[in-house]
Subunit: 226 residues, 4 copies
């Protein structure tokens, strides 16, 4: 049982509220309203900006050159991913101008600033535990939604998104992130600290669940407006 | 027109959504459901912990000894205020154990970590602009709800709360905070920067409005459960 | 053997270079040139400003309210101590204006910013280990220089200074700091991390030794100028 | 007159103490003792590690995506430069193991942690002003030492080093850094703040001068050991 599995087991209800959220289920079933997905996509772009800052923070907080190089690679990857994200948005009719002009939703602020604050107030292990629901959780969600691979998704409306996270490249990123978490824990985790880390992990998972909820809620609140 | 009035004018809609929020109106009218107020009280306690951290951050970021002493006094005041808060909670039947065991709501996380991140990423002026809706806004709300002073409130159910913020001591704190903002702006604010600060002020005001909304929503969602 | 004694044992040479430095010996023997002591006093004032910032950083980084209160008390104590320091300087003919106009010496910058960076990049344990040579070391030096108490110092020229750190109040501060270090270590220290903390402790001790050296060197370099 | 020239003019003596330091003159004349240069090279490697952290901090503190990308490119460049640096060291008979095992000198700690603390406590403009003596100053030194280009240096013993900083690639980096400083100042610099920034620039320049001095001093103190 690696540290990530221990964290999940310690906060099983929080974890399930996130990875089994209705947004995820509807996404998997292809029944998620387009409005919900588009709200999510826009906010996820704003999320990635803060996420890049979190990797910059990890680089700044690194004491070993290897940790620094790894964090910098993560940062560069996110900045690249944002260009891909712009293309994904374009396919859903969202222009870059529209995305960047969007105000950050409370749910976006809550999770991103929570992660950044965990990192600013704590150490590298705190930061990476707070990032884990996102970095490693998306791989679990991708695999759950496409257990036979993205190829089997046919003309699923959210095929691109699911395919990205179910795909080998992203799965590999998540495997490395789990190993990195184990390394950090081997260096700096006591059993007393595990309790604190699990609390932090649970809170991050709930904030991720709230992020999905924001997507669903936007679809509901938009209906009466039309 | 001091810097605070300029910020309010630049973000009038955001500001109004906060100081004229239904929660505030119902609080003033004495019709606010107790459940809403109690949810607010508990979250406000958790809020104060992060708020104290924000003043500690301001102390750390100070270059001048006078700024440092002022921020430290603010920090000490908040840590004292928390003891008063515990007493206020007790009057509403909330024990310290109950308060501290409460999980932070998304709205609490969003506003507090937003403020802390503004301070960590920016300078003292950014930090104090992000704090202003809270520090200075509560004085405006208190005065609005008790224009003739707390003495005229009779047996208003929320008399204690309104009295605290309408009272001279708190009004004076807000006046000093406005002056401090002017000092910081005189040192470090360009007109180009004002645009950024106004955006930050608007976002902080919306997050404060969301904080009231959390209180109201808790009363609504609790009803069917009973 | 508490964590502080373990750190000292692991970095015995670094520790000795600091607590047995010629500056300390000459201070104890009463033979330290006045110029050296005055340079030290001025830089120590500038040091305390950064030291206060370090306690503010500790407050900001605290997760538990008790840690926060303790760090805030430390911060308030330092800000008070600075007023005492101004009086001590006055006795040596140094005016507040003279002190505040003095440029920070390299040795002052090196140790203070090292401590602040340990705290910003690491966690509370890193920060307090980096502070330990100063907080706890001064108590050891005071006790070494006045083993029979300050009362036995007679008309020793540095009686005030030695008395302050040999005295019960400061000895008690150091005892509490040691216990706090043990608490933090019990929460967050693994054996692998001890190695990193010892390296950090050694570096901080050497930077403290350099701080004494700055005092001595200033007396030497001043001579030919006269 | 751009902001960099204004800073230099405001702190002319500090600036000259750095760019005209004896270490630089002897380096240019080819008379610098090898021991001094080697000490410098080793400490400069340790310096670059902290320097990379400073660019990571700049990335973390960026509000605009363009600032973030620029800082990330700077960070990636430094991490690459470190590999070049290892090769340069090898030419002087210094193995990577020897470099990494070297303890950081007080002068290295002082300048690097000062820069990092300016960035942590202040904003992006503070951070880049503190970095300027290094980033932009090295281009000025390179040009001064090789006014006719590195090609005219013949078999100068420090040809590689001078050529790197006199060369077009590095000169271009410095030009961009000056423009970036102007951009940041146009956003966030008032005249009152210029005074603070100039103080910070002066202190950084003196700490750079101390860094050269460390190199020279090491050659002197080593002599009796041989």
């Amino acid at each position: 049982m690696d540290i990530f599995d221990r964290l999940k087991a310690a906060r099983a209800a929080d974890w399930t509220s996130y990875v089994d959220h209705d947004f995820v289920r509807q996404l998997g079933a292809g029944t998620l309203p387009e409005a919900a997905f588009r709200t999510y996509l826009v906010q996820d772009y704003l999320f990635l900006i803060q996420f890049a800052r979190a990797y910059a923070l990890a680089t700044y907080k690194s004491r070993l050159l290897d940790d620094m190089r790894a964090a910098q690679a993560g940062l560069a990857a996110i900045l690249n991913e944002m260009e891909l994200h712009v293309r994904l948005c374009a396919r859903w009719g969202l222009s870059p101008a529209e995305i960047e002009a969007a105000p950050e939703h409370q749910a976006t602020v809550a999770y991103t600033r929570f992660v950044l604050d965990c990192g600013a107030a704590g150490d590298l292990l705190d930061l990476h535990v707070a990032l884990a629901p996102c970095v490693i959780g998306y791989a679990e969600i991708g695999r759950n939604l496409a257990p036979k691979g993205a190829g089997a998704l046919g003309d699923h409306p959210y095929r691109d998104w699911i395919g990205e996270y179910a795909g080998e490249i992203y799965q590999d990123i998540a495997i490395k992130a789990r190993r990195h978490l184990d390394d950090l824990a081997a260096r700096a985790m006591t059993e007393r600290r595990f309790v604190e880390l699990a609390a932090l992990f649970g809170q991050a998972s709930r904030l991720e669940a709230d992020f999905w909820q924001m997507g669903l809620a936007s679809a509901e609140t938009r209906l009466p407006l039309r």
